[in-house]
Symmetry: C2
Subunit: 156 residues, 2 copies
DNA sequence: CTGACTGCAAACCCTTTGCACTAAA
DNA sequence: TTTAGTGCAAAGGGTTTGCAGTCAG
Protein backbone atom coordinates (compact mmCIF):
# COMPACT_ATOMS: atom_id res chain seq x y z
CA UNK A 1 0.00 0.00 0.00
CA UNK A 2 3.03 2.21 0.20
CA UNK A 3 2.49 3.67 -3.24
CA UNK A 4 -1.06 4.65 -2.64
CA UNK A 5 -1.92 7.92 -1.02
CA UNK A 6 -4.91 7.77 1.18
CA UNK A 7 -6.07 11.21 2.02
CA UNK A 8 -8.46 9.76 4.56
CA UNK A 9 -7.32 7.01 6.82
CA UNK A 10 -10.10 6.59 9.33
CA UNK A 11 -13.56 6.32 7.92
CA UNK A 12 -12.67 5.73 4.33
CA UNK A 13 -14.82 2.69 3.88
CA UNK A 14 -17.73 4.29 5.65
CA UNK A 15 -17.34 7.43 3.54
CA UNK A 16 -17.29 5.41 0.39
CA UNK A 17 -20.30 3.39 1.38
CA UNK A 18 -22.16 6.60 2.11
CA UNK A 19 -21.25 7.98 -1.27
CA UNK A 20 -22.53 4.88 -2.94
CA UNK A 21 -25.78 4.96 -0.97
CA UNK A 22 -26.25 8.57 -1.89
CA UNK A 23 -25.95 7.72 -5.57
CA UNK A 24 -28.48 4.94 -5.22
CA UNK A 25 -30.93 7.19 -3.47
CA UNK A 26 -30.45 9.98 -5.98
CA UNK A 27 -31.25 7.68 -8.86
CA UNK A 28 -33.99 5.71 -7.20
CA UNK A 29 -31.93 2.58 -7.14
CA UNK A 30 -31.96 -0.15 -4.56
CA UNK A 31 -29.22 -1.40 -2.30
CA UNK A 32 -29.13 -5.08 -3.06
CA UNK A 33 -26.97 -7.80 -1.55
CA UNK A 34 -25.13 -8.05 -4.83
CA UNK A 35 -24.31 -4.38 -5.08
CA UNK A 36 -23.17 -4.26 -1.50
CA UNK A 37 -20.99 -7.26 -2.07
CA UNK A 38 -19.34 -5.85 -5.16
CA UNK A 39 -18.81 -2.52 -3.43
CA UNK A 40 -17.22 -4.16 -0.40
CA UNK A 41 -15.04 -6.36 -2.53
CA UNK A 42 -13.90 -3.40 -4.57
CA UNK A 43 -13.05 -1.42 -1.45
CA UNK A 44 -10.98 -4.29 -0.12
CA UNK A 45 -9.14 -4.78 -3.39
CA UNK A 46 -6.30 -2.35 -3.84
CA UNK A 47 -5.71 -3.22 -7.44
CA UNK A 48 -6.55 -2.33 -10.97
CA UNK A 49 -9.26 -4.86 -11.59
CA UNK A 50 -11.00 -5.77 -14.80
CA UNK A 51 -14.58 -6.96 -14.76
CA UNK A 52 -13.26 -10.49 -15.06
CA UNK A 53 -10.94 -10.01 -12.12
CA UNK A 54 -13.75 -8.72 -9.96
CA UNK A 55 -16.07 -11.44 -11.15
CA UNK A 56 -13.56 -14.12 -10.22
CA UNK A 57 -12.98 -12.68 -6.77
CA UNK A 58 -16.64 -12.18 -6.07
CA UNK A 59 -17.61 -15.59 -7.39
CA UNK A 60 -15.53 -17.38 -4.80
CA UNK A 61 -17.78 -16.22 -2.00
CA UNK A 62 -20.93 -15.57 -4.01
CA UNK A 63 -21.10 -18.18 -6.75
CA UNK A 64 -24.54 -17.16 -7.88
CA UNK A 65 -23.59 -13.53 -8.50
CA UNK A 66 -23.59 -12.80 -12.22
CA UNK A 67 -21.04 -11.19 -14.48
CA UNK A 68 -23.48 -8.54 -15.67
CA UNK A 69 -24.14 -7.45 -12.13
CA UNK A 70 -20.44 -6.99 -11.48
CA UNK A 71 -20.17 -5.04 -14.71
CA UNK A 72 -23.11 -2.82 -13.90
CA UNK A 73 -22.05 -2.21 -10.33
CA UNK A 74 -18.58 -1.15 -11.42
CA UNK A 75 -20.24 1.37 -13.72
CA UNK A 76 -22.17 2.70 -10.76
CA UNK A 77 -18.98 2.99 -8.76
CA UNK A 78 -17.55 5.11 -11.54
CA UNK A 79 -20.67 7.25 -11.66
CA UNK A 80 -20.36 8.22 -8.03
CA UNK A 81 -16.64 8.83 -8.22
CA UNK A 82 -15.42 5.87 -6.21
CA UNK A 83 -13.84 4.17 -9.18
CA UNK A 84 -12.47 5.25 -12.49
CA UNK A 85 -11.65 3.25 -15.59
CA UNK A 86 -8.06 2.96 -16.76
CA UNK A 87 -6.70 1.58 -20.02
CA UNK A 88 -3.31 0.00 -20.41
CA UNK A 89 -3.51 -0.87 -24.05
CA UNK A 90 -4.53 -4.46 -23.62
CA UNK A 91 -8.13 -4.01 -24.71
CA UNK A 92 -9.37 -4.61 -21.22
CA UNK A 93 -10.92 -1.93 -19.07
CA UNK A 94 -9.65 -1.86 -15.54
CA UNK A 95 -11.08 0.00 -12.62
CA UNK A 96 -9.05 1.74 -9.98
CA UNK A 97 -9.94 3.51 -6.77
CA UNK A 98 -10.57 7.16 -7.20
CA UNK A 99 -11.98 8.42 -3.92
CA UNK A 100 -9.27 9.68 -1.61
CA UNK A 101 -6.53 8.96 -4.11
CA UNK A 102 -4.24 11.62 -5.42
CA UNK A 103 -3.62 11.92 -9.11
CA UNK A 104 -0.85 9.50 -9.98
CA UNK A 105 0.97 7.87 -12.82
CA UNK A 106 1.29 4.17 -13.52
CA UNK A 107 4.38 2.06 -13.93
CA UNK A 108 3.24 -1.14 -15.57
CA UNK A 109 5.46 -4.20 -15.57
CA UNK A 110 5.28 -6.14 -18.80
CA UNK A 111 6.61 -9.25 -17.08
CA UNK A 112 4.40 -9.71 -14.05
CA UNK A 113 1.65 -7.24 -14.91
CA UNK A 114 1.97 -5.45 -11.60
CA UNK A 115 1.13 -1.78 -11.52
CA UNK A 116 2.93 0.72 -9.35
CA UNK A 117 1.27 4.03 -8.65
CA UNK A 118 3.50 7.01 -8.19
CA UNK A 119 2.72 10.61 -7.36
CA UNK A 120 4.59 13.57 -8.80
CA UNK A 121 3.98 17.25 -8.42
CA UNK A 122 5.95 18.03 -11.56
CA UNK A 123 3.56 16.22 -13.82
CA UNK A 124 0.73 18.56 -13.08
CA UNK A 125 2.93 21.50 -14.00
CA UNK A 126 3.94 20.00 -17.28
CA UNK A 127 0.37 19.17 -18.09
CA UNK A 128 -0.62 22.77 -17.45
CA UNK A 129 2.26 24.04 -19.54
CA UNK A 130 1.32 21.75 -22.42
CA UNK A 131 -2.28 22.83 -22.28
CA UNK A 132 -1.37 26.48 -22.22
CA UNK A 133 0.98 26.29 -25.16
CA UNK A 134 -1.58 24.38 -27.20
CA UNK A 135 -4.64 26.34 -26.13
CA UNK A 136 -6.19 23.23 -24.75
CA UNK A 137 -8.46 22.76 -21.76
CA UNK A 138 -7.85 19.48 -20.00
CA UNK A 139 -10.50 17.35 -18.34
CA UNK A 140 -8.16 14.55 -17.46
CA UNK A 141 -4.86 13.03 -18.37
CA UNK A 142 -2.90 9.87 -17.97
CA UNK A 143 0.76 9.05 -17.73
CA UNK A 144 1.71 5.42 -18.12
CA UNK A 145 5.17 3.98 -18.14
CA UNK A 146 5.69 0.45 -19.44
CA UNK A 147 8.72 -1.64 -18.62
CA UNK A 148 10.14 -3.95 -16.02
CA UNK A 149 9.72 -3.68 -12.28
CA UNK A 150 12.37 -4.21 -9.65
CA UNK A 151 11.33 -7.75 -8.84
CA UNK A 152 11.30 -8.97 -12.41
CA UNK A 153 14.61 -7.29 -13.05
CA UNK A 154 16.25 -9.41 -10.37
CA UNK A 155 14.74 -12.60 -11.72
CA UNK A 156 16.19 -12.22 -15.18
CA UNK B 1 1.73 19.77 -39.45
CA UNK B 2 3.22 22.28 -37.07
CA UNK B 3 2.95 19.93 -34.15
CA UNK B 4 4.76 17.09 -35.82
CA UNK B 5 8.51 16.98 -35.79
CA UNK B 6 10.03 15.46 -38.85
CA UNK B 7 13.62 14.67 -38.28
CA UNK B 8 14.05 13.88 -41.94
CA UNK B 9 12.50 16.08 -44.53
CA UNK B 10 13.94 14.97 -47.81
CA UNK B 11 13.89 11.27 -48.48
CA UNK B 12 11.54 10.28 -45.75
CA UNK B 13 9.19 8.31 -47.94
CA UNK B 14 12.02 6.58 -49.70
CA UNK B 15 13.65 5.72 -46.39
CA UNK B 16 10.45 4.30 -45.10
CA UNK B 17 9.83 2.27 -48.19
CA UNK B 18 13.33 0.84 -47.91
CA UNK B 19 12.74 -0.08 -44.32
CA UNK B 20 9.57 -1.87 -45.27
CA UNK B 21 11.24 -3.72 -48.12
CA UNK B 22 14.00 -4.79 -45.80
CA UNK B 23 11.49 -6.29 -43.42
CA UNK B 24 9.81 -8.19 -46.22
CA UNK B 25 13.08 -9.58 -47.46
CA UNK B 26 14.21 -10.54 -43.97
CA UNK B 27 11.04 -12.52 -43.40
CA UNK B 28 10.71 -14.00 -46.83
CA UNK B 29 7.61 -12.00 -47.56
CA UNK B 30 6.50 -10.62 -50.89
CA UNK B 31 5.90 -7.07 -51.95
CA UNK B 32 2.37 -7.17 -53.24
CA UNK B 33 0.29 -4.40 -54.79
CA UNK B 34 -1.85 -4.41 -51.68
CA UNK B 35 1.02 -4.01 -49.24
CA UNK B 36 2.55 -1.25 -51.32
CA UNK B 37 -0.75 0.52 -51.47
CA UNK B 38 -1.35 0.34 -47.73
CA UNK B 39 2.19 1.50 -47.05
CA UNK B 40 1.88 4.47 -49.40
CA UNK B 41 -1.47 5.42 -47.99
CA UNK B 42 -0.14 5.25 -44.46
CA UNK B 43 2.83 7.43 -45.36
CA UNK B 44 0.53 10.02 -46.86
CA UNK B 45 -1.81 10.03 -43.91
CA UNK B 46 -0.59 12.17 -41.06
CA UNK B 47 -3.13 10.96 -38.60
CA UNK B 48 -3.82 8.43 -35.93
CA UNK B 49 -5.68 5.90 -37.99
CA UNK B 50 -7.58 2.85 -36.87
CA UNK B 51 -7.80 -0.18 -39.12
CA UNK B 52 -11.27 1.01 -40.10
CA UNK B 53 -9.96 4.45 -40.99
CA UNK B 54 -7.27 3.00 -43.18
CA UNK B 55 -9.65 0.56 -44.75
CA UNK B 56 -12.05 3.34 -45.67
CA UNK B 57 -9.31 5.46 -47.20
CA UNK B 58 -7.77 2.59 -49.11
CA UNK B 59 -11.10 1.28 -50.32
CA UNK B 60 -11.86 4.47 -52.21
CA UNK B 61 -9.07 3.83 -54.68
CA UNK B 62 -8.79 0.05 -54.28
CA UNK B 63 -12.28 -1.28 -53.69
CA UNK B 64 -11.21 -4.90 -53.86
CA UNK B 65 -8.61 -4.57 -51.12
CA UNK B 66 -9.71 -6.42 -48.01
CA UNK B 67 -9.95 -5.43 -44.39
CA UNK B 68 -7.70 -8.26 -43.24
CA UNK B 69 -4.96 -7.15 -45.58
CA UNK B 70 -5.06 -3.64 -44.17
CA UNK B 71 -4.96 -5.09 -40.68
CA UNK B 72 -2.06 -7.38 -41.45
CA UNK B 73 -0.08 -4.73 -43.27
CA UNK B 74 -0.43 -2.30 -40.38
CA UNK B 75 1.01 -5.00 -38.14
CA UNK B 76 3.96 -5.29 -40.49
CA UNK B 77 4.46 -1.54 -40.38
CA UNK B 78 4.67 -1.79 -36.62
CA UNK B 79 7.11 -4.66 -36.82
CA UNK B 80 9.59 -2.66 -38.83
CA UNK B 81 9.21 0.46 -36.72
CA UNK B 82 7.36 2.65 -39.19
CA UNK B 83 4.17 2.65 -37.18
CA UNK B 84 3.25 2.17 -33.58
CA UNK B 85 -0.09 1.45 -31.98
CA UNK B 86 -1.66 3.99 -29.65
CA UNK B 87 -4.63 3.58 -27.36
CA UNK B 88 -6.92 6.38 -26.33
CA UNK B 89 -9.31 4.41 -24.23
CA UNK B 90 -11.99 4.01 -26.85
CA UNK B 91 -11.44 0.31 -27.49
CA UNK B 92 -9.98 1.01 -30.88
CA UNK B 93 -6.33 0.61 -31.74
CA UNK B 94 -4.88 3.46 -33.73
CA UNK B 95 -1.59 3.56 -35.55
CA UNK B 96 0.67 6.54 -35.69
CA UNK B 97 3.89 7.27 -37.54
CA UNK B 98 6.96 6.33 -35.64
CA UNK B 99 9.86 6.66 -38.02
CA UNK B 100 11.43 10.09 -37.83
CA UNK B 101 9.03 11.30 -35.20
CA UNK B 102 10.20 12.54 -31.85
CA UNK B 103 8.61 11.24 -28.71
CA UNK B 104 5.53 13.32 -28.06
CA UNK B 105 2.44 13.53 -25.98
CA UNK B 106 -1.15 13.61 -27.19
CA UNK B 107 -3.84 16.18 -26.56
CA UNK B 108 -7.11 14.51 -27.49
CA UNK B 109 -10.22 16.59 -28.04
CA UNK B 110 -13.35 14.89 -26.77
CA UNK B 111 -15.53 17.07 -29.01
CA UNK B 112 -14.03 16.70 -32.46
CA UNK B 113 -11.69 13.79 -31.81
CA UNK B 114 -8.69 15.63 -33.17
CA UNK B 115 -5.32 14.76 -31.74
CA UNK B 116 -2.57 17.28 -31.25
CA UNK B 117 0.97 16.05 -30.84
CA UNK B 118 3.25 18.07 -28.65
CA UNK B 119 6.89 17.65 -27.77
CA UNK B 120 8.32 18.42 -24.35
CA UNK B 121 11.81 17.93 -23.04
CA UNK B 122 10.59 18.01 -19.44
CA UNK B 123 8.53 14.88 -19.81
CA UNK B 124 11.53 12.73 -20.48
CA UNK B 125 13.15 14.02 -17.30
CA UNK B 126 10.14 13.28 -15.19
CA UNK B 127 9.85 9.84 -16.66
CA UNK B 128 13.46 9.15 -15.76
CA UNK B 129 12.97 10.51 -12.29
CA UNK B 130 9.90 8.35 -11.78
CA UNK B 131 11.70 5.27 -12.98
CA UNK B 132 14.67 5.91 -10.78
CA UNK B 133 12.65 6.44 -7.63
CA UNK B 134 10.65 3.29 -8.28
CA UNK B 135 13.51 1.12 -9.49
CA UNK B 136 11.80 0.63 -12.78
CA UNK B 137 13.25 0.23 -16.25
CA UNK B 138 11.08 1.79 -18.91
CA UNK B 139 10.60 0.45 -22.41
CA UNK B 140 8.06 3.02 -23.40
CA UNK B 141 5.60 5.47 -21.97
CA UNK B 142 2.62 7.49 -22.96
CA UNK B 143 1.23 10.81 -21.89
CA UNK B 144 -2.29 11.61 -23.00
CA UNK B 145 -4.30 14.66 -22.13
CA UNK B 146 -8.04 14.62 -22.75
CA UNK B 147 -10.13 17.75 -23.03
CA UNK B 148 -11.26 20.39 -25.46
CA UNK B 149 -9.21 21.90 -28.26
CA UNK B 150 -9.05 25.55 -29.24
CA UNK B 151 -11.51 25.23 -32.10
CA UNK B 152 -14.17 23.45 -30.13
CA UNK B 153 -13.74 25.90 -27.30
CA UNK B 154 -14.71 28.77 -29.58
CA UNK B 155 -17.73 26.96 -30.91
CA UNK B 156 -19.33 26.44 -27.54
C1' DC C 1 6.08 -23.69 -60.29
C1' DT C 2 5.92 -23.00 -55.38
C1' DG C 3 5.27 -20.89 -51.33
C1' DA C 4 3.36 -16.81 -49.69
C1' DC C 5 -0.85 -13.53 -49.98
C1' DT C 6 -5.50 -12.13 -50.43
C1' DG C 7 -10.33 -11.67 -49.34
C1' DC C 8 -13.97 -13.68 -47.27
C1' DA C 9 -16.28 -15.24 -43.51
C1' DA C 10 -16.10 -17.00 -39.23
C1' DA C 11 -13.97 -17.15 -34.66
C1' DC C 12 -12.55 -14.52 -30.66
C1' DC C 13 -12.79 -11.71 -26.76
C1' DC C 14 -14.44 -8.30 -24.09
C1' DT C 15 -18.34 -5.18 -23.35
C1' DT C 16 -23.12 -4.25 -23.31
C1' DT C 17 -28.09 -5.24 -23.44
C1' DG C 18 -32.95 -7.57 -23.58
C1' DC C 19 -35.83 -10.16 -20.96
C1' DA C 20 -38.35 -13.14 -17.73
C1' DC C 21 -37.93 -14.01 -13.04
C1' DT C 22 -36.80 -12.19 -8.29
C1' DA C 23 -36.47 -9.11 -4.55
C1' DA C 24 -35.93 -4.45 -2.27
C1' DA C 25 -38.73 -0.80 -0.28
C1' DT D 1 -47.40 -4.35 -4.24
C1' DT D 2 -44.64 -1.85 -7.20
C1' DT D 3 -40.62 -0.87 -9.36
C1' DA D 4 -36.04 -1.86 -9.97
C1' DG D 5 -32.36 -5.66 -10.04
C1' DT D 6 -30.50 -10.07 -11.23
C1' DG D 7 -28.66 -13.68 -14.09
C1' DC D 8 -28.68 -15.65 -18.29
C1' DA D 9 -27.82 -15.73 -22.81
C1' DA D 10 -27.41 -13.32 -26.83
C1' DA D 11 -26.03 -9.18 -29.34
C1' DG D 12 -22.36 -5.76 -30.35
C1' DG D 13 -18.05 -4.10 -31.94
C1' DG D 14 -13.37 -4.43 -32.74
C1' DT D 15 -9.48 -7.72 -33.58
C1' DT D 16 -7.64 -11.93 -35.33
C1' DT D 17 -7.48 -16.21 -38.01
C1' DG D 18 -8.53 -20.42 -41.22
C1' DC D 19 -8.93 -21.49 -45.75
C1' DA D 20 -9.41 -21.98 -50.80
C1' DG D 21 -8.29 -19.54 -54.65
C1' DT D 22 -4.52 -16.22 -56.51
C1' DC D 23 -0.11 -14.23 -57.46
C1' DA D 24 4.85 -12.61 -56.78
C1' DG D 25 9.36 -14.30 -57.36
Amino acid sequence: MSEIDFQYQGDTVKDETDIFMKLLKAQNLKLTKQRKYVLDTFLKTEKHVSVDDMYDIVKKAQPQLGYATVFRTLKLLCQCGLATPVYFGDKRIRYEHKYGHKKHIHLICRECGSIIESVSADIENIKNKMCKSNNFIADSYSVDIFGICKKCMKKS
